[in-house]
Amino acid sequence: MKVNEIQDLIKFVSKSGVSEVNLETKEVKLTIKNDGVKKGKGGEAQILQVPVQQMMPQQMQAAPIAAAPIAATPVAAAPVTEAPAPVIEAPTVADDTSKYIEVKSPMIGTFYRRPSPDKKNFVEVGSEIKTGDVICIIEAMKLFNEIEAEVTGKVVKIFVDDSTPVEYDQLLFLVDPS
């Protein structure tokens, strides 16, 4: 997972009102806690990022890191003994993502990229999509919800792996409408 993706995620969590996000990919297991949800202001996010294979018996606690204002605060990963602390640069505006449209999850559920396990993915990074195209399914307790594109454009990024749980308002796709 790239550093700016983690930063985006922290920013998103601190803004969203979600109190905790757990994300597990092949390389990392990431937990972001947003205490600000309960306190109501000045959200404080804790991050914990370690390679999964090193997440062995003892749970490593990461130091709390101030999340807001994110743009001004260089985010430093917690110094953990086994995993080398990633060097994180101060956020710079690398690519212009402001023109991209964010597609978020309208509900809590399980994110599926394919109509069924034996079919191919609805979309890939780079796919051209148009309004009304099905881009994913979110299953919520035996209800299968086909999410349709609300813009025409190109899929720039897919944030969630197939068959993983998603929270309400979690970022799923970035679409370049141009």
Partner: protein, 247 residues
């Protein structure tokens, strides 16, 4: 006022009633309340990746189109509307107690008699169409007992029942609970759902990630997750693939 089931499409055989009604919805104008039925589904859907088996012509296999005005966060109410309607339909035909096994199977004497599968289309965080698929065992007598034993109305009352009379009852009850939801909202329906919830308040064994554990089923939350009391009296919350009923 919409009339559930008034607009009716019937096929002697189709791959899946949900898929076919979805295809029709995408290509032509069809009214809310349209019911598509079939005698036989060549690839009937159960839960994702699982199939639904039914003897040809023996049972109700159909999908209703609804266009409900609900927030996607309250989407579970569609399971509630469908489960209550199917439960009432069966309860009118048999003497035994009928209950709703979370999230939406209908159970009589511990055996499954009906299943529900809902597909929704969502755009801009709005549900634009809901396809409520129902399989209700009416006259089928032979079942493979896996993963849970199954039953039918005929197996219980020892009498053949006209499929079409069951369809009429089902239309009526879908109409009834859908209207009730539109008039009274989520809470009223949620109350009725909980009144009919299988194993509610009973202490039973369940299979969870940590092994076989005893819980007392308490309720289903707004997102549709199952909430149970563990041995220490604390509430634990489970999603659909996180817990298996052993009874």
């Amino acid at each position: 006022m919409i009339y559930i089931g008034k607009n009716r499409i019937h096929y002697s055989e189709i791959d899946s009633t949900n898929s076919e009604l979805k295809r029709i919805y995408l290509t032509e104008e069809i009214t809310e309340g349209t019911l598509l039925t079939t005698n036989f589904q060549s690839s009937g859907q159960g839960q994702r990746g699982e199939s639904w088996e039914s003897a040809p012509g023996a049972n109700f296999l159909g999908t209703y189109l609804l266009t409900p005005n609900i927030n996607p966060r309250e989407v579970f109410v569609l399971n509630i509307i469908a489960s209550l309607a199917v439960k009432e339909t069966i309860a009118e035909l048999i003497q035994s107690e009928v209950s709703i096994k979370w999230p939406n199977d209908i159970i009589v004497n511990g055996a499954k008699i009906a299943g529900i599968l809902v597909d929704n289309k969502i755009i801009s965080s709005k549900i634009v169409a809901s396809f409520i698929g129902i399989g209700l065992n009416i006259n089928q007598l032979e079942f493979s007992d896996f993963p849970r034993s199954a039953t039918s109305i005929r197996k219980i009352i020892h009498k053949k029942v006209e499929n079409e009379s069951v369809t009429q009852k089902l239309n009526f009850h879908i109409q009834q609970f859908y209207s009730l939801f539109n008039l009274k909202g989520f809470e009223t329906l949620n109350f009725l759902y909980h009144q009919n919830l299988y194993l509610k308040g009973e202490s039973q064994f369940y299979e969870v990630e940590t092994g076989t554990k005893k819980f007392t089923l308490q309720s289903v939350n707004k997102e549709g997750c199952l909430q149970l009391f563990n041995n220490s009296g604390e509430i634990e919350v489970f999603g659909i693939k996180e817990i298996t009923f052993l009874k």
